[in-house]
Symmetry: C2
């Protein structure tokens, strides 16, 4: 057949079916498809006509360019990353048992949406966990479950307003800075001293909302002492638009003694939003975090953000609720803590018995999953990193954790050990001896 111009009549169904030797039904289907897509139109009692679709607005045929995904694997033999978790202890059989239980219970709860703040049972279980292990008095209504800290940070910014002036610790977790930058208009650095976030830094820059890690600063390991905690709260209380976002990201891995009380539990005037995640303590593949909002902000949250569906699958939420309620989480965290503690001890002992001890000062606060190594012989961070790389070892410089361009090379190295066993740590140290001595 030739080309049919705009407004031209198409052959009748019967004629076309005879011509092409196919059934009338087939032609009918084809015509109604063309009609529903707008290529032809029907005139009742007359037949089908071609639509007028100017050819000039139909673009050229697409050509396919092959896109390559960037490689994710590391080219280093040994990587002292702070970002890896040991998954060997993950209680697969328990998790599998719970998921079978929940799947076999089936039903509506599993398939239908939950509250935008998450499954109530999970929020109850988190509240109970916070009461027992963090001494926090939190009601399930204050808890918002979401797909990880990054997502929840985005929610907090929408709640408090993206036009506000935010502050993030510098040095700090670089992703935190990235998330704030991607979501709000003004993000400023909060300086950190030996007691954590500096108050003068908040006041001088007009910061309204401060994201801080008082329980355990990342990566310096500082635990904010009581006096500073009270001062920071007093700062927040001094103006009605000030809030603190308390990121308690690794409280589960404090090595000795009980974790420090949270700012959330010390807060008398509803100015602290608390956030934590199960990503570190369970598995990096599980994006489940939660937010504790002050009672006074709940109605504002419902009004502004109540329309959002919860981002975590109900299935995962139900498993995690049981995992918490039946004490599996507590047991798992305690095993992980012991594992990381033994690695840390091994790391510190091996370093102190190594000739490296002459040129390195090992600094490590209570807990965490990495050490800070300070060069004593004048080697710069860059030199330390480059020499290590030449031996196939990846270490990280403190300056990499500064994200406002204030990074100075002070010859300080961050070495994570959470994803390495004792043998790998020893291998790494031997390689560092070759690199740095």
């Amino acid at each position: 057949m030739g080309k049919i111009g705009p407004g031209e009549k198409l052959p009748s169904k019967r004629a076309l079916s005879a011509h092409l030797k196919i059934s009338v039904v087939t032609v009918e289907t084809a015509y109604s498809l063309l009609a529903s897509e707008g290529y032809i139109y029907s005139v009742p009692g007359s037949g089908y006509y071609a639509e007028n679709i100017p050819g000039r607005i139909i673009g050229p045929k697409k050509t396919r360019t092959i896109i390559k995904e960037p490689e994710q694997s590391s080219s280093y033999l040994i990587d002292f990353s702070t970002n890896r978790a040991d998954t060997t202890l993950f209680p697969f059989s328990v998790w599998a048992k719970l998921s079978r239980e929940i799947l076999s219970s089936g039903g509506d709860e599993l398939l239908n949406t939950c509250s935008g703040k998450g499954v109530y049972r999970l929020r109850q279980a988190i509240g109970e966990y916070l009461r027992c292990f963090r001494g926090m008095d939190v009601q399930p209504e204050q808890i918002v479950v979401g797909a990880g800290s990054e997502y929840l940070t985005g929610l907090v910014i929408q709640l408090l307003g993206r036009e506000k002036v935010y502050g993030v610790e510098d040095p700090g977790y670089v992703k935190t800075h990235q998330v704030f930058s991607a979501n709000c208009s003004k993000v400023l650095p909060i300086e950190v001293d030996g007691s954590g976030a500096r108050l003068s830094s908040l006041a001088a820059q007009g910061i309204q909302i401060a994201h801080i890690t008082p329980s355990h600063h990342f990566p310096l390991g500082t635990i904010m002492p009581a006096a500073r905690r009270h001062e920071i709260l007093a700062w927040a209380y001094a103006a009605s638009d000030r809030y603190i976002i308390e990121d308690d990201y690794d409280s589960d891995f404090r090595m000795y003694g009980k974790p420090v009380p949270t700012l959330q539990s010390m807060d008398s005037y509803s100015r602290v939003l608390y956030m934590n995640t199960f990503t570190k303590s369970l598995a990096p593949s599980m994006r489940i975090g939660y937010l504790v909002i002050p009672p006074e902000l709940i109605s504002c949250f419902e009004e502004k953000l109540g329309f959002y569906a919860c981002t975590v699958p109900v299935f995962e939420q139900l498993i995690l609720a049981e995992f918490l309620k039946r004490g599996y989480f507590e047991r798992h965290v305690s095993r992980m803590r012991k594992l990381y503690l033994s690695r840390r001890d091994h790391f510190i002992r091996s370093l102190s018995s190594s000739p490296l001890s002459k040129i390195l000062e090992v600094q490590s606060a209570n807990g965490g999953t990495h050490l800070l190594l300070n060069s004593k012989n004048g080697l710069s961070e860059r030199e330390l990193k480059e020499r290590a790389a030449a031996q196939g070892v990846r270490v990280y410089g403190l300056s990499e954790y500064y994200s406002f361009g204030k990074n100075k090379d002070e010859g300080r190295i961050i070495a994570g050990y959470s994803g390495m066993n004792a043998q790998e740590i020893s291998l790494g140290i031997s390689a560092l001896e070759r690199a740095w001595l």
Copy 2:
């Protein structure tokens, strides 16, 4: 013991342990805890001293206000909601089998993070699905998996810039408007006519990025004809900062014939971002959606948003990948489509044989999971809704889907049937007869 003032020395460990008749180790633990929290400090060779924490900055004791969660359950006997899915056909046993398989394979993949864009295998499976069922030529590298459309919309806004002028269809899905309002600075209404989004509305208001539902407008059911599709693409091509976000939310449920070709597949100049979700077709509790970004935007995405972790648990992603690859999804969707089709037919037949047919015109485009009922006897939307409510039936007015204050009461009702079986539909119609005749 009395109060110890700032700077005062604490009793020695030995003295306190004798005084309290507890072990020295216990006192030591208590002192080191107080020290780590900053309430006391140690002077080597001398002992522990109380820190100076001004009492005035310690706030009052918190009082607990009991917060009540708003009730979620409906007080209506029958609810013609457009927002419910039938979960009776969900293939629990298959899903459970796949989850067992994946859990028992265990291992690193399941526990460690995937690419921020999602598990590669799932993106391959989605690409293959799009090729077979939507005629789209998409590479896995273009696909971004995320926790539902709302989350993905937030990502798109971060990618294209929140300072841009966005447009959303009015009437349309109200949540879409809410998500855009919560995430960007300027959102304007796009008028809709019998062919879908109106071009004049885009041009006149200076809209740069248009969110539209060309395959099946919600809630009007319009399928955008070919000419309008080409015109909309031509609009996007006419300036370098214009993009189309094509929301293909219910393409799986088109009732007759093949789904209409997507704008994405017609786009020659990388101006269409396509999004879809599994929430409608699988279960509302599963927040898995995906975005197809044009090849030209991939490097921009990696640069601006590559730091984000994927918000969907790897476990769900692996199950869904298998579910797609082994054809379960296709079979499931086809069963769901048949179910919804039979309900739709039952709804339309029952209405046309009911006395309601004298006062109602039933309008329904090809597909979807709701009908539009137009009042022919002058009853307003408000009257229709109120009278139905008095009979325990919830129906929705078209004006509820306008979110820019332009809603006019035209006596048009939206009645969803996806969550109701034939019996419930019949009961609902009887109640509406009592209400409206």
